[in-house]
């Protein structure tokens, strides 16, 4: 007897993904879509597509989607959630969008305690524009705008977004996860589910930082890229729950 053992989540459309081979954006999309499906909130969801590789994510999630200006996803999300409090509003943002040009909007949305779910993709590089240095680029990492490697004295240290957001009193849930192997992936799914569950329960601002790969712009094979996450990114960006539950003072 034939049996379906795996199928695409109902939270995704049939649109072909625009991501490069080996990039983990697709996996994170799957996790977000599964969370929407499992929590039965696809029909209540409004997603915000940000600027960067995920700009076309409005084609992929099977719910209402709004494309935001670069960095402004959390301001746009605020406008939507305040106007439609019954909707489940999430943003899906990369590190150029959230950690560089849009860190102000994100911090203030968290500080106001907006009841939002923020999925933050940290791949240590600008993917869409062709591999420039991001605020999250590691020390020594070569990019098209740091051809000699990121230099602490020239470029500062890579920004630790989860650590920053865990200091914000009204952020209720901050966790960093990774999707470089099945064990971590399972954990990432749990975190993303929780970030949406929090919104359903009106708990407030939840942010999940996902360590992600960019094989093309890193100049690596997909397998080597996954290894690079484990060996280079995780030591600097520890995978853990930074904050869970009550607002702090």
């Amino acid at each position: 007897m034939k049996q379906i053992v795996y199928q695409k989540s109902k939270g995704l459309t049939d649109h072909q993904l625009s991501y490069c081979p080996g990039c983990t954006h697709g996996i994170v999309h799957k996790l977000v879509a599964e969370a929407l499906e499992e929590l039965n909130i696809i029909e209540k969801a409004i997603g915000i597509a940000s600027v960067g590789c995920s700009v076309l994510s409005y084609n992929f999630f099977d719910c209402d989607m709004v494309q935001a200006a670069h960095g402004r996803a959390c301001a746009v999300a605020t406008g939507i959630k305040r106007s439609r409090p019954e909707a489940i509003v999430f943003s899906y943002q990369g590190d150029g969008d959230l950690a560089s040009i849009g860190i102000g909007e994100t911090i203030h949305a968290a500080n106001r305690g907006e009841n939002l779910t923020v999925i933050f993709i940290n791949n240590a590089i600008y993917g869409m524009t062709g591999g420039q240095m991001a605020p999250t680029t590691l020390i020594g990492q070569k990019t098209t705008t740091s051809p000699f490697g990121r230099d602490l004295h020239l470029h500062g240290m890579p920004i630790k977004v989860s650590e920053i957001f865990s200091q914000i009193p009204r952020a209720v849930y901050v966790e960093r996860v990774s999707v470089h192997n099945p064990r971590f992936l399972k954990n990432a799914k749990r975190a993303i589910l929780k970030a949406f569950q929090n919104q359903i329960e009106n708990k407030g601002f939840s942010l999940v930082e996902v360590l992600s790969t960019c094989p093309v712009n890193w100049g690596m094979t997909p397998i080597k890229a996954l290894k690079w996450v484990e060996e280079e990114m995780i030591p600097y960006y520890p995978v853990k729950v930074f904050k869970d539950g009550e607002e702090n003072e």
């Binding site: 459309t13 696809i42 029909e43 209540k44 969801a45 409004i46 915000i48 597509a49 700009v55 076309l56 409005y58 084609n59 099977d62 719910c63 209402d64 989607m65 709004v66 494309q67 935001a68 200006a69 402004r72 301001a75 746009v76 999300a77 605020t78 406008g79 939507i80 959630k81 305040r82 106007s83 439609r84 019954e86 909707a87 489940i88 102000g104 909007e105 203030h108 106001r112």
Partner: protein
């Protein structure tokens, strides 16, 4: 009709609530602060949304979000704040989202000053954002006109799915005048917002709000569709007042507070036996080009008066098409002219054209 004495900014805010404003997002800046102050108190009272954003950039993007979700939304700011909103305004136009933006203008450039000015005519009518886009812009002259427009602006914005700007100067915002807030405004037939990403849609019903079109042919198609809409606005939305024009020797073109001062100047000139008419554009965009075909044959010249160094002057030049001699009078920096100065400028112009 009952009239009450109200400060300009507060009357604008009250009128916005009466016009059906469901959400306000803004950031403090002088001389418009009474608008958010008033709304922070009275919008929540009627179960509507008020958020003080962390910047004008955030404000306009919250407006974008609320508009995308299908509610009647507005913001207010003043010149430097409106400068920061330009990117958002371009996105709103690109994604065809309706909203109302109140601009209580002050002097520039840079931080400039906080006194009344009209030096943002270019910013308002040409726009500082990227791309081929247009914003409907109204420049009322007194508080009554402003509060009536404030209500109607939501209708117009929804009708066209486009931002509408109400551009007043600091004088209108700060001055107290008697107004009637219960005047009926023209209602438009507004189609259901079946484009709004308000949640609850999947599959074929799914709604996407975006201004992104990566395929050049698709983007051109989108641009041409927008242009068609702007053409309708140009045909149907030009608003102006042309008064005392019959047999007039001169016409003074002025809008907003300047139009009000010009009215007094025209009286002074009338006493001296000089017949001067007023052309007051109410819409800055679309510019009331139609008015120029109604100018009398008796005309010897057009004087443009602005609280800028000659910005609307460009549009007058375009509409005049070289027919009548032109002259310009302007005061800037927040300095308001006496009517006598304008009368004097016209007398000087009269000397020049009769030479």
């Amino acid at each position: 009709m009952k009239k009450i004495l109200m400060k300009g900014n507060e009357a604008i805010a009250r009128s916005a609530i009466l016009g059906g404003c469901e959400a306000f997002f803004g950031y403090p800046i002088t001389p418009q602060n009474e608008i958010p102050e008033y709304l922070s108190k009275y919008l929540p009272e009627v179960g509507k949304v008020f958020v003080q954003a962390e910047s004008e950039i955030a404000s306009i993007n919250m407006v974008y979000g609320a508009a995308a979700a299908g509610v009647r939304v507005m913001t207010s700011s003043s010149s430097p704040g409106i400068a920061l909103m330009q990117e958002g305004i371009s996105y709103l136009c690109g994604a065809e989202l309706p909203c109302v933006i109140v601009n209580v203008m002050r002097g520039g450039p840079g931080l400039g000053g906080i006194q009344p000015s009209q030096s943002d005519y270019f910013q308002i009518t040409r726009g500082g954002g990227n791309g081929d886009y247009r914003v409907l812009a109204y420049a009322p002259e007194n508080l009554q006109e402003t509060v009536d427009l404030m209500k109607e602006a939501f209708e117009i914005a929804d009708y066209y799915r486009n931002p509408v700007m109400i551009a007043v100067d600091g004088l209108i915002g700060q001055m107290m005048e008697s107004v009637s807030l219960d005047r009926e405004v023209k209602k438009r037939v507004i189609p259901e917002k079946n484009w709004a990403a308000s949640g609850g849609h999947t599959g074929k019903e799914r709604r996407i709000v975006t201004s992104l079109f990566l395929d050049p042919e698709k983007l051109e198609e989108h641009n041409l569709r927008l242009a068609k809409k702007y053409k309708v606005m140009i045909a149907d939305e030009q608003k102006y007042e042309l008064s005392n024009a019959e047999e007039a020797e001169f016409i003074i073109v002025a809008y907003g507070t300047m139009a009000r001062i010009v009215r007094s100047a025209i009286e002074i000139l009338k006493d001296q036996g000089i017949k001067v008419g007023l052309l007051k554009p109410l819409t800055l965009w679309p510019y009331p080009k139609n008015a120029f075909s109604k100018l009398p044959k008796s005309l010897k010249g057009i004087l443009v008066a602005e609280l800028s160094l000659g910005q609307m002057l460009d549009d007058v030049k375009i509409c005049n098409e070289g027919r009548f001699p032109l002259s310009f009078f302007g005061r800037v920096g927040g300095v308001l002219p006496e009517p006598e100065e304008i009368a004097e400028a016209l007398l000087k112009f009269k000397m020049e054209v009769s030479r």
